[in-house]
């Protein structure tokens, strides 16, 4: 479980950083955008996991 979560977090972190440097110009805006994207990706993944656990176990 920890391996799966860790790999998902690593992937989300990488994607967030690339999205941020491509979508924003200023470092502060990039950091904010990366944090928001990271939270959305990890939060969305966890939410989907919980929904699958509830409805498809």
């Amino acid at each position: 479980m920890s391996v799966h979560l860790g790999v998902m977090v690593l992937c989300a972190a990488c994607v967030s950083v690339v999205f941020a440097v491509l979508q924003r110009d200023e470092p502060a805006a990039q950091a904010r955008f990366a944090a928001q994207t990271f939270a959305a990706l990890v939060g969305g993944g966890l939410l989907l996991g919980v929904l699958q656990y509830i409805f498809f176990r």
Binding site: C11, C14, L22
Partner: protein
């Protein structure tokens, strides 16, 4: 259109896009964005290396499954790291590894993210973005 921030002797859009495809971040470096270039180079190469380390497969073109073709196309979008992997024989894929699918995901996503970077370089070169 705002080309004032670009170097006057900047390369052509086609050359910059090919460079961005070959080496992640090279297109941004050519257009005067070294910070973005370094971040792209580090992150995308790290993702590709993680994909290989997780036992992901470097998909070849061919075979009857169209999804494999799409995965191969996505991985080729990373340019030089994919070429190096092909030459060195890396990425055979460890299908029994718990992280096999994660490895594939990392390899494919790295290529697709580099495609976004190439499109960003195109926007920089044509003046759509400064």
């Amino acid at each position: 259109m705002n080309n004032k921030t670009l170097p006057p002797d900047r390369p052509s859009v086609a050359l910059a896009c090919i460079g961005a495809w070959l080496v992640p971040g090279l297109g941004h470096a050519l257009y005067g964005k070294p910070r973005t270039a370094i971040i792209l180079l580090i992150v995308l190469t790290l993702m590709f290396a993680c994909g290989l380390a997780f036992g992901g497969r470097v998909f070849p073109f061919g075979g009857p499954e169209p999804l494999v073709w799409l995965a191969a196309a996505a991985e080729w979008c990373l340019g030089a790291p994919r070429v190096v992997a092909a030459i060195a024989g890396w990425g055979a894929g460890d299908v029994v590894a718990a992280t096999y699918e994660y490895g594939n995901t990392f390899l494919i996503v790295a290529g697709l993210l580099n495609t976004l970077a190439v499109l960003d370089v195109f926007d920089l070169g044509t003046g759509r973005k400064s």
